[in-house]
């Protein structure tokens, strides 16, 4: 788990400068989707395409979890027929997809975001409201200028 150690090292050696929140996109209803708009705070940190890919993949995962179709109806009817006791022994499809999402986010963090000093928090830990991206500054370097510049941008607002 050396890559995990890298993430831990990121947290220990770097310092938190800012957090960006990607909000939900409700244009298609109440299904879980996040906005793919690229936040300005990340402009200097990561390429737009990488970010958009991550968010689009997450959106696809959530769409798959919430898809209404044959399998979800079957699951619902089976659950109703067993007086919902079947959920005590069976994992719902949503939970399976959530596990996939957690793995995907960990992988993205290790491969793409941690090397750039960023960290994505799984939306499930924020009540599925936001994707929280933490921006870290390297404590050793004087790169706190970019941190404070993003910070002073918000103060100027």
């Amino acid at each position: 788990m050396s890559s995990f150690h890298n993430l831990q090292e990121l947290r220990h050696s770097a310092s938190l400068a800012n957090k960006v929140f990607i909000q939900r996109d409700y244009s298609e209803g109440t299904t879980c989707r996040f906005q793919t708009k690229f936040p300005s705070e990340l402009e200097s940190r990561i390429e737009r395409t990488l970010f958009e890919d991550t968010v689009k993949t997450l959106n696809n995962f959530y769409a798959e979890a919430e898809k209404i179709g044959g399998q979800s109806y079957l699951e619902g009817c089976l659950a109703c027929a067993t007086a919902y006791l079947i959920f005590l022994c069976m994992e719902t499809r949503y939970e399976k997809v959530l596990k996939k999402i957690a793995k995907y986010i960990q992988e993205q963090n290790e491969k793409i975001y941690a090397p750039r000093g960023l960290l994505i928090t799984d939306p499930i830990e924020r009540g599925m409201r936001v994707i929280e991206i933490s921006i870290y500054e390297d404590r050793g370097s004087s790169g706190s200028s970019s941190g404070s510049s993003s910070v002073s941008d918000s103060t100027a607002r």
Binding site: S15, L16, Y94, I124, E125, R129
Partner: protein
């Protein structure tokens, strides 16, 4: 003056550090607390967080009692006669119905209805930054709304002051449970819980099966009485039968009415809340009712509401709290205070925080430096102790305060919570007084990021 502020903080740091050394030992000796023990809403938890109920659940035992007593009397007094004279299927059907009703009721009562966890401090601060509100000196700023487009229909999202977030569409804040609940239908006292996204199907199956059960018992009791009258034997145990008759008769009307009403709601993909408020009925546009969530098909509406995928619980009830965090979210209140710090120090703490933050904002000398030990797992502990959400940026100000007294997690959050919940509102306007802006009660935010939308694709 700066030294003064830092000196105010230092004694607390000094008093904290030996105790923080003691604390880990204490917490190791104590069992790790689960998140449900620090849950901010008015709920009760059972089975170590597996079951959740509203705090005001006085009527649930009554509901259970009525069902059990009526069914019990039915099985005891009517079934023997009916088995003898009619068929053995009657108690079997009755038994199955009874089990289904009780299972649905318990599932409805003890399932998390779709409670949204409260926003973390950073999230609340981020939202505050995005809102342009006036610098009024009232405690509560004017209600904030955000307009978004859902399926090309304008929907207003309201800001929840308790949970510090814009409520997603169809979400409402239940005042009895003090939680925002997704797809909030209503708070049912009979069931002792809110009815929301996650337990609506259980509630619906409860009332439908209960209608069947009451009708079944009513029919059987009437048959029993009729057969007995025609038969020769006298009416012994007539009191129990009469009791059953009365209970069933009166409950049938209300239960059948409720079932019918909820069937209508399911077919048109509405919630009780929306129906009562008339959210969509006033808009007589091209669509039949202007409900942006409704599919064009009644069957699809039913299937989606009742057989749709089961969303997970968003409040992690059984997760463990990290030993150094008192609460998982910043806006919680009414949790027991750590024993070593009196409240007067907390007052000082909040005041000095405010002063320090003001100075920090004016000076250009702040870095986003945080002690490394604070974030443990990926959900970062809110490091903004008592920081007003309007402070820009709150994270680094809070962190620079932590820097002032060394690498110790600021113990302010646990004991200044109850002050902070009110002070967050009062501090906010105070900060905004410096830069008056025109009164804007809402900011119109049109989110039309996706491709052109019609009705959601039906797979």
């Amino acid at each position: 003056m700066k030294n003064c502020e830092y000196q105010q903080i230092d004694p607390r740091a000094l008093s904290v550090s030996p105790l923080s050394a003691q604390n880990p030992a204490e917490t190791k000796a104590q069992r790790p607390r689960r998140k449900w023990e620090a849950f901010p809403g008015k709920n009760r938890f059972f089975c170590d967080g597996r079951l959740i109920l509203a705090r005001q659940n006085g009527v649930l035992p009554l509901t259970l009692g009525l069902i059990v007593v009526t069914s019990g009397l039915f099985f005891a007094f009517d079934c023997p006669f009916l088995v003898e004279h009619l068929t053995v299927c009657i108690p079997v059907i009755g038994g199955l119905l009874f089990l289904f009703v009780v299972a649905s009721l318990l599932r409805t009562s003890f399932t998390d209805p779709g409670i949204l966890p409260r926003a973390t401090a950073e999230e609340a601060a981020d939202i505050e930054r995005q809102i342009d509100t006036s610098g009024s000196s009232t405690y509560r700023p004017p209600p904030r709304t955000k307009e978004i487009l859902i399926n090309q229909q304008v929907v207003k999202l309201k800001y929840c002051f308790t949970c510090k977030m814009f409520r997603p569409p169809r979400t409402s804040h239940c005042s009895l449970c003090d939680n925002c609940v997704e797809r909030f239908d209503h708070h049912c006292p009979w069931v002792g819980n809110c009815v929301g996204k996650r337990n609506y199907r259980y509630f619906y199956s409860f009332i439908i099966s209960l209608s069947f059960l009451t009708s079944f018992i009513f029919g059987c009791v009437v048959t029993h009485i009729t057969l007995r009258k025609w038969g020769s034997s006298g009416l012994d145990s007539s009191l129990c039968t009469v009791v059953e008759l009365v209970i069933c008769f009166f409950s049938i009307w209300s239960i059948l009415g409720l079932s019918g009403f909820h069937t209508y709601l399911v077919a048109s993909n509405l919630t009780t809340n929306e129906d009562i408020k008339g959210s969509w009925s006033s808009k007589r546009g091209a669509e039949e009712s202007g409900n942006p969530y409704s599919y064009s098909n009644i069957l699809t509406n039913c299937c989606v509401t009742l057989c749709g995928p089961m969303p997970p619980s968003l409040i992690d009830r059984r997760g463990f709290l990290a030993p150094d965090e008192g609460i998982p979210v910043a806006s919680a209140s009414e949790i027991e205070l750590p024993p070593f710090t009196p409240k007067s120090e907390a007052n000082m703490c909040t005041q000095s925080t405010k002063d320090v933050l003001e100075r920090m904002l004016r000076s250009s000398d702040f870095h986003g430096l945080c002690p490394s030990g604070t974030p443990k797992t990926s959900p970062l502990v809110p490091e903004v102790p008592g920081a007003p959400p309007a402070a820009k940026p709150p994270v680094s100000s809070g962190c620079s305060r932590q820097l002032a007294h060394g690498a110790v997690v600021d113990p302010c959050p646990p004991f200044s919570k109850s002050i902070r919940r009110d002070s967050l509102h009062s501090i906010n306007p105070a900060f905004r007084l410096a830069s008056p802006s025109p009164t804007l009660s809402r900011s119109v935010l049109v989110v039309g990021d996706g491709p052109d939308v019609g009705f959601p694709p039906q797979h």
